[in-house]
């Protein structure tokens, strides 16, 4: 058998062009869904979303069966499991050692990490749209019929989307800092909770208000935030999202890929 029988590879046009970030982002989105683990995780998220919304529709009181409530509920599985997808998008390259392939095809590693962030954000945006569709369907089916049933401000949808996107970025960041699935997933959930527990101590009360992401973001799904509340969201995001991402870039660049 000879290589000469192979079809001509393709346009030689791209051979000396760097693959663009758009292409790399599409590749990363593909990697989220083309493994058994990734497919299961996304399927479970979708299933849970439908399940919790249906349960809410059947059990909540009439005045609570509103679009706003359904959207908040529909977003819960995505905001919990979405970051896990983000974590695995980074860490599976190390646990499965595909980083050896990825970084020889794209030697500038930070471009790969940027593509992973973009892919995570894209998934979050697609996810939030599906949540919104689910919430709309649920309201049509189970809506309580009061004045508030269909009321939902654009600001609230935006805040909802933002919270999911932020969680996703944090997931990718935690993955990149630890480069190992289990520790990244555990710390992603445990660290903020431990921090929140520390916040119960009176002396730390002030700091916690600003740096505890759960508290800073607690009203994000309920109402439009005030300026001061936005400032708290900003500081907590800097600590829990930007810091891991920055450390992650440094770590990924320096790591001895084996």
């Amino acid at each position: 058998m000879s290589i000469a029988v192979l079809p001509a590879p393709v346009s030689a046009r791209d051979a000396d062009h760097r693959p663009g970030l758009g292409r790399l982002t599409l590749v990363e989105l593909r990697k989220m869904t083309d493994t058994r683990a990734g497919l299961w995780l996304l399927s479970i998220t979708a299933f849970l979303t439908v399940a919790v919304v249906a349960i809410a529709g059947l059990t909540l009181d009439a005045q609570d069966r509103t679009l706003r409530e359904f959207l908040a509920i529909a977003t819960v599985p995505l905001s919990l499991l979405g970051p896990v997808v983000g974590i695995l998008l980074v860490t599976s390259e190390w646990s499965q050692r595909t980083s050896l392939i990825t970084f020889t095809l794209v030697p500038h590693r930070s471009r790969v990490l940027v593509a992973k962030l973009f892919a995570g954000i894209s998934l979050a945006v697609i996810g939030i749209q599906l949540c919104l569709a689910t919430a709309l369907l649920a309201t049509a089916a189970f809506g309580g019929g009061g004045d508030e049933t269909w009321s939902l401000s654009a600001a609230l949808i935006g805040q909802d989307a933002l919270s999911v996107v932020v969680a996703m970025i944090a997931g990718v960041g935690f993955g990149a800092v630890l480069l190992a699935s289990a520790p990244a997933i555990v710390l992603f959930f445990v660290l903020p909770t431990a921090w929140a527990a520390l916040g119960q101590i009176n002396a730390l009360e002030g700091a916690a208000k600003w740096l505890d992401q759960t508290r800073a973001m607690e009203h994000m799904l309920e109402r439009s935030l005030s300026g001061a509340e936005w400032a708290r969201v900003g500081t907590s995001v800097a600590l829990w999202v930007m810091l891991p991402v920055v450390i992650g870039f440094w770590r990924v660049k320096r790591d001895d890929v084996r």
């Binding site: 000879s2 192979l6 050692r97 020889t104």
Partner: protein, 305 residues
């Protein structure tokens, strides 16, 4: 073309690659030979920009690997066939990389055929693959971008004799069409089967390099006779240094003609007289990689550089 110039790497206080210099020309298959832990993999990782050298530099196709805009389209790499996502299907593993380097996915099918992975096997998840199948998938992956250079770390691992022959033909054909191949192995006979040139590394240092003939030059003559006592006497009488051969007879530090004259003078009928071939190369490989390089005759090391 692959060039390594003075590559040096320290890991954990040890010098694992020490001033490694070699060149692989287009149209040739170069075997990178050395025992496990000699520094082959570390050297290759520096060639492809996965590891920063502490000294020296490397170039692939006249530039630093990292400066190739779309390296997969110029250089095919297989560093470890086990480094694939176990939960991904074989075909999909190739398709992801094809998308990454902007290649038509139709080429994936052609490569699966080329490496002999059946459609049914390509649909399986990589976790279910044998080492030999992973190795074939890895070769397909390396050839995916229609590269001019191949860098393969222990590609023959896990291949059966038929697979070995297949790979030899494939790499031969690749080189004959102007490609450059560097492949590593810790097994001499693997490399001997495939490579035109050998670069032998031991303890992080290049201890010898050249073609098979160049490496064997001066490695002696194998001589046998049914009357070994008379043969030994004749060799001593002629003042020739010799040692016992691994399968009987003697390995003499002289050209065949000289040995033949000694036997004639001693009146010994020879049953064999030839340049010390395989045994010589095996012995050479063993000596080169086990002895500290300083213990080798300086002129030999010099001659083979």
């Amino acid at each position: 073309m692959i060039e390594a110039h003075g590559l040096t790497k320290r890991l954990g206080g040890n010098v694992v690659v020490d001033d490694v210099t070699f060149r692989c020309e287009p149209g040739t298959v170069t075997g990178f030979l050395g025992p496990n832990g000699a520094g082959k993999t570390t050297t290759m990782r520096m060639l492809v920009g996965l590891l920063d050298p502490d000294g020296g530099d490397a170039a692939v196709l006249d530039r630093e690997y990292r400066d190739l805009p779309n390296p997969g389209r110029r250089v095919g790499i297989l560093l470890d066939a086990a480094a694939q996502h176990g939960g991904r299907r074989g075909r999909e593993a190739l398709a992801v990389s094809a998308q990454m380097m902007a290649i038509d996915e139709a080429r994936v099918e052609a490569l699966l055929d080329l490496v002999g992975l059946e459609r049914s096997a390509a649909r399986k998840r990589v976790r279910q693959y044998s080492l030999g199948m992973r190795q074939r998938l890895g070769i397909a992956h390396a050839l995916l971008g229609d590269p001019q250079v191949l860098i393969l770390d222990e590609p023959a691992n896990g291949l059966d004799p038929e697979g070995m022959r297949w790979m030899r033909d494939l790499l031969r054909d690749f080189a004959d069409r102007g490609g450059t191949v560097l492949l590593s192995s810790h097994l001499l006979n693997e490399v001997e089967m495939i490579a035109d040139r050998m670069v032998i590394i031991g303890g992080g240092k290049i201890v010898a390099q050249g073609t098979r003939a160049e490496l064997l030059a001066g490695s002696g003559t194998l001589v046998r006779a049914s009357d070994e006592v008379a043969l030994a006497a004749a060799l001593i009488a002629a003042g020739l240094e010799s040692r016992a051969g691994s399968e009987g007879g003697f390995v003499v530090e002289a050209e065949p003609e000289e040995v033949g004259r000694a036997a004639l003078a001693g009146g010994v009928a020879l049953s064999r007289l030839e340049p010390s071939e395989n045994g010589g190369l095996e012995q050479l490989f063993f000596d080169l990689t086990t002895a500290a390089p300083d213990a080798l005759p300086a002129d030999f090391v010099e001659a083979t550089r």
